[in-house]
Subunit: 384 residues, 2 copies
């Protein structure tokens, strides 16, 4: 198949920010793209060749969209997986596969997959409804504290909560869920694995999510992670095992904990470009977005090494600000060395809404980290 011709069509389910960033690379390679998204204002509405408005969870909509393309991918997990399976049977190349997505879509089956394939992960229990957790506690099968996770997407809420007592528990929605042992960890790490249909595989360097000391929120993604080589190698090999067991085609972002005893436990995976890989646009020889295209089109994989060190800061809406967004002091961060803001184009801000990200690159990771702190202190995402 000649990808570099107008006879070839790549379909992307989801027209969000990840899709928007991927479209830069499809345009660079002049690959014809069709995007499906429910919102007429989706960031990908520009830059794709054909934009279709439609429900990603509706079987017929996804079938009708998918059957006109040669290769179909997604930039969001919450799509109709039955439709993907039908399309695969009809000869459309769906990457990553419907089987992998089905396993990942449900956090309970995702965890079972790890257990079945001897992939290290925190111990867990599975519940058809949150209300059943109570009983497990009563019977001594579970004790506080633990981490509660909704098994599925698609309800209004964060989906993850640390439960320390009964009152934490009663606030939760009554949905299919898992509980996980609360693991004290030194670091939260991530590795993006790239694998094409031929089975060629490469990993990006291990990155580190640095947490805010009080807010317990990821503040910086740092590449490379400031960890010993032996830990990095262990994390890489766990990530490679996960991708191999999935026979994955595409990017797989593997989030992991480095425990206090230096074990590596898989937290969860995302079968697509990922926030932990945004630094790659500026820092890597091949950005994660170009790499995703290489993977799913069966092209040779690009170099995953870094030209320079990178730090990524998420831009989220400030507390107490709701309304038309203003990026206060953005000019000031543009004056800092190696700083690139990515503005997602959402017109309205609200507290903690993800509005963009900023990448800071430098030959010296310590300098990049310092400038990242300045960036964070300087720019404010507020309302008019």
């Amino acid at each position: 198949m000649n990808y570099f011709s107008s006879n070839f069509k790549l379909g992307i389910l989801g027209g969000g920010q990840l899709g928007k960033m991927m479209l830069y690379d499809t345009r660079k390679f002049d690959i014809y793209t069709c995007v499906l998204d429910p919102s007429a204002d989706a960031p990908s509405r520009l830059a794709c060749d054909e934009f279709t408005i439609g429900d990603l969870l509706d079987y017929d909509t996804v079938i009708n969209f998918g059957k006109q393309v040669d290769v179909l991918t997604f930039e969001i997990e919450n799509v109709n997986v039955d439709a993907l399976e039908t399309l695969e049977k009809q000869g459309v190349k769906v990457f990553p596969s419907s089987k992998t997505l089905r396993t990942i879509q449900n956090k309970a089956t995702q965890k079972l997959f790890y257990r079945d394939h001897n992939i290290p992960t925190a111990d867990f229990s599975r519940f058809a409804y949150t209300s059943e957790i109570d009983e497990a506690i009563d019977h001594g099968g579970l004790s506080y504290p633990f981490v509660w996770k909704s098994a599925r997407f698609g309800y209004d809420g964060t989906g993850v909560k640390v439960v320390r007592n009964l009152s934490d528990l009663t606030d939760l929605p009554n949905v299919e869920c898992i509980t996980e042992k609360l693991i004290p960890f030194k670091n939260e790490l991530a590795v993006i694995v790239a694998r094409n249909a031929q089975g060629d595989v490469k990993t990006y360097p291990v990155v580190e999510m640095e947490f805010h000391p009080e807010a317990n929120q990821v503040e910086y993604v740092i590449c490379p992670a400031r960890i010993p080589d032996a830990i990095a190698k262990k994390a890489e090999s766990v990530a490679l095992k996960v991708a191999a067991e999935f026979k994955h085609v595409g990017l797989l972002a593997v989030e992991m904990f480095q425990t206090e005893t230096d074990d590596i436990l898989v937290n969860e995976v995302a079968p697509r470009p990922h926030n932990s890989g945004h630094y790659s646009i500026e820092a890597s020889y091949t950005s994660q977005f170009e790499q995703q295209i290489r993977c799913i089109l069966g092209l040779p994989l690009g170099n995953t090494e870094s030209k320079v060190a990178g730090v990524m800061v998420n831009l989220v809406g400030a507390e107490n600000h709701t309304g038309n967004v203003v990026y206060k002091n953005i000019e000031n961060i543009l004056a800092m060395d190696g700083v690139t803001p990515h503005i997602y184009g959402k017109k309205q801000t609200r507290p903690f809404r993800k509005m963009g990200h900023v990448t800071i690159v430098n030959k010296d990771i310590a300098v990049a980290r310092e400038i990242a702190e300045q960036v964070k202190r300087t720019i404010e995402v507020i309302s008019e």
Copy 2:
């Protein structure tokens, strides 16, 4: 003015490949863009917010397009400069200015500008018509060989020719033109100067255009140029002088000769992103396209240094091939380290038509140069 809001509109005259590459950065910063181009198939038709089909040389068309935007720029010199001047008077910020563009648009006035401002350039003569050159030769005011250049754009032809005898001369179109002394040179160099309205100025590293030993055609653009530091400094200072004399706002690509006696002579300038700066997308901290946006919006300038060395190869249509384009062996170059093809999306190839470019980056310039040679030997732009 808040550039990062939907109230702000950036207008771009010309929707070609340069505009297309600039739109990646306007999208990254979420800057609203309006593009005017005569072709419904222009590369920028995607990725801009508003696309208007219209003649760039028509006064009323440019006025009507320009009066709806806050800042107006161009990605091609061949636009109606009277309209730009009117728009400036009406309060539209036009960068680079109409005055600069008017001087540059005509190669005779461009050369006079250099002479008037003591900018080193090859000796030249000015002719209202090519047919007048004959007489100058007869009177001994000019002798073979010399370089003939059309003063203006907009006729079918290359615009530059080395004239060695009468028969070379008679083949030329009878238009306003200049003749230049033929200067034997060691190297053809270029420096891109970035300057914003506040007068902040930065230069990109000096690049070298490496010529094919026989075809006398630029084969590689190499950054940094493999020349002594003293020559690089001289080239930089000449380029800075040109930008300062123009009181330029925006990018100015200054092409220069390093003569056999190590003098630097300005050949010509382009007031926009330039082929000699394409390497910057992959190699520089700030690509020339992002830098152009920073310049014309009065934002702080980005770091012009390189993360890694870069070599750029133009992809042109192979001889004896006309028709639907095929990029033969593109998969093979994608397997090479640090190689990024940029495909411009023209559906038809013809001999020597510029169809794209390939950037090769590496920590070691010698390795990048070697891979560039492999790229050139491998990929072929042919017809089906």
